[in-house]
């Protein structure tokens, strides 16, 4: 008899617990709201990247990719970037790939940055979307910057990473502001995945190539 009552209580508790879990999940899902405010403490950091048409190493040596310069000045193949929260991040991109052109010309205008972007040292308010090779975009921070491609007929083009300053490239620099700590995705809006349907497969769908994470650290 006692065993039967225990089973009964256990079943009722299990049913109640399951119902509470479902209600908690639904309530949590419905109550999520995006954050809307940030503050700024005034820190400044620099980030130097290069984009290359062919990485030359790893399982996909012919994929387009990014490299990042580490603190000792060496190029590392990575698209996971760490920056401090509530800071100004000054980014320099050495762009070695040729232009593909933006599918949506809207992204030809730089957005979410502090001041103007500079292309080869010239302040540039907007870029002809046909000249874009990639975009460096962090949509959740409202940041999107078009990266001008190297001319198709440029001499001494870089074929395999890491590329050097002696090879044909454009230099794009800009500054953006980080807010609170968190992990944000970044991506490219140019359909630059040569050989894939509509240019949006392979490296465009892979972290480590044209997608990455920005870790904003407190």
């Amino acid at each position: 008899m006692r065993s039967g009552s225990t089973k009964l209580v256990a079943v009722l508790v299990a049913v109640a617990f399951s119902a509470a879990l479902i209600a908690y999940y639904i309530a949590g899902y419905l109550s999520v709201r995006p954050a809307e405010t940030t503050s700024w403490s005034g820190k400044r950091v620099s980030l130097t990247l290069q984009t290359v048409a062919s990485l030359g190493i790893g399982p996909h040596p012919d994929w387009v990719s990014y490299l990042v310069k580490d603190s000792s000045g060496h190029w590392q193949h990575s698209t996971v970037l760490n920056v401090p929260a509530n800071s100004l991040v000054h980014v320099t991109v050495l762009q070695y790939d040729t232009a593909t052109g933006l599918r949506n010309p809207y992204w030809g205008g730089p957005r979410g940055i502090v001041g103007l972007m500079k292309v080869d040292g010239k302040p540039t308010p907007t870029l002809d979307p046909d000249l874009a090779s990639h975009t460096f975009a962090i949509p959740d921070l409202g940041v999107s910057v078009p990266l001008k491609g190297v001319a198709d007929d440029a001499k001494n083009q870089c074929s395999v990473a890491p590329c050097t300053l002696a090879q044909a490239h454009t230099t794009i620099s800009f500054t953006f502001r980080t807010g609170k700590a968190g992990t944000y995705r970044w991506q490219c809006f140019v359909p630059c995945a040569a050989g894939f349907i509509l240019g949006f497969g392979g490296p465009m769908q892979s972290v480590g190539y044209m997608d990455g994470y920005l870790h904003v650290v407190a």
């Binding site: 995705r185 991506q187 894939f196």
Partner: protein, 287 residues
């Protein structure tokens, strides 16, 4: 024979008891569902379409409540009253079909389903002019002032939404603000793969298909923020295709658009002429 009569008679009294418990709980629960839970059911009342969907959810929940209670009461009562005692080795009473119960069940469930079909059709076609859903390029369920609706093109792309306003020189923005009290005609499309535009609190959900102009109507009523998500698995960052829109007053909407026009003036010359679908030209941009 007598061995069966007693359990059957007991079953009948148990059935009456279950029915009584169910009736009391239903009389308490249904008003609570309508009056207390109802106002909190999604998607809310930010737009006419969302309000119609919330009303439908309240109705469905209120209709489901007696059914769920019937099952729960039967389940709980059976666990307590009909469980086998440790020393009881006899069979239960034989179960036979019961004609009147079956007739009542069929009549009630058919009536409920037909009533919901009538309600849903009315909401879809008349009161919610499409209930916030995509109606394809040639919509049938139009609001009264469809010709004066604010047109907004919603462009899905991996992995962000952008918005064009043909009546305002075709400017494009990465934010969506809509004026309260105005019919809005959304033209949802995509320029790469299939997406689905889901403005949750507005009660709008329309597939974004490349080369297709999928029209949905919405009539925002309340000021505030609404969440925009992609509801179609669309690649690596599908889960991040998440933005926040705002319903603002007409005056604020005009101020916002003026600011956008100024901010986008330099980029406007590069945008293609507005068209109801949005496919990349030249083809080089297709990768």
């Amino acid at each position: 024979m007598n061995a069966f009569r007693e359990p059957v008679a007991r079953l009948s009294s148990e059935t009456r008891r279950i029915f009584l418990i169910w009736l009391v709980l239903t009389a308490i629960a249904v008003p609570l569902v309508v009056l207390v839970l109802g106002p909190h059911l999604p998607p809310g009342r930010m737009s006419a379409e969302a309000a119609a969907q919330t009303d439908a959810n309240v109705l469905l929940t209120a209709l489901c409540t007696p059914i769920v209670l019937l099952l729960a009461v039967q389940f709980g009562y059976s666990l307590i009253a009909f469980r086998a005692r440790p020393d009881d080795l006899t069979d239960g009473p034989p179960v036979h079909g019961h004609g009147p119960t079956q007739v009542v069940w069929l009549v009630v469930t058919s009536a409920v389903v037909l009533a919901l079909a009538v309600w849903g059709s009315y909401t879809l076609i008349v009161s919610g002019h499409g209930a916030g859903g995509g109606q394809g390029p040639n919509p049938d369920a139009l609001p009264k002032n469809a010709a004066e609706a604010l047109q907004v093109q919603v462009i899905g792309q991996q992995w962000n939404w952008t918005f064009r306003f043909p009546a305002y020189k075709g400017i494009e923005t990465a934010q969506l603000e809509l004026p309260a009290g105005t019919d809005v005609e959304l033209h949802v499309t995509s320029l790469d793969v299939a997406h689905s535009f889901w403005a949750y609190q507005l009660g709008v959900k329309a597939d974004a298909i490349p080369g297709v102009d999928n029209v949905a109507f919405v009539h925002p009523r309340k000021l505030g923020n609404f969440t925009i998500r992609c509801a179609e698995l669309c690649g690596l960052w599908h889960g991040h295709m998440y933005q926040t829109g705002r319903v603002v007053s007409s005056a604020d909407f005009k101020r916002w658009l003026t600011a956008q026009q100024q901010a986008e003036a330099g980029n406007l010359k590069y945008l293609p002429p507005y068209s109801r679908d949005y496919f990349p030209e030249p083809l080089r941009r297709a990768g």
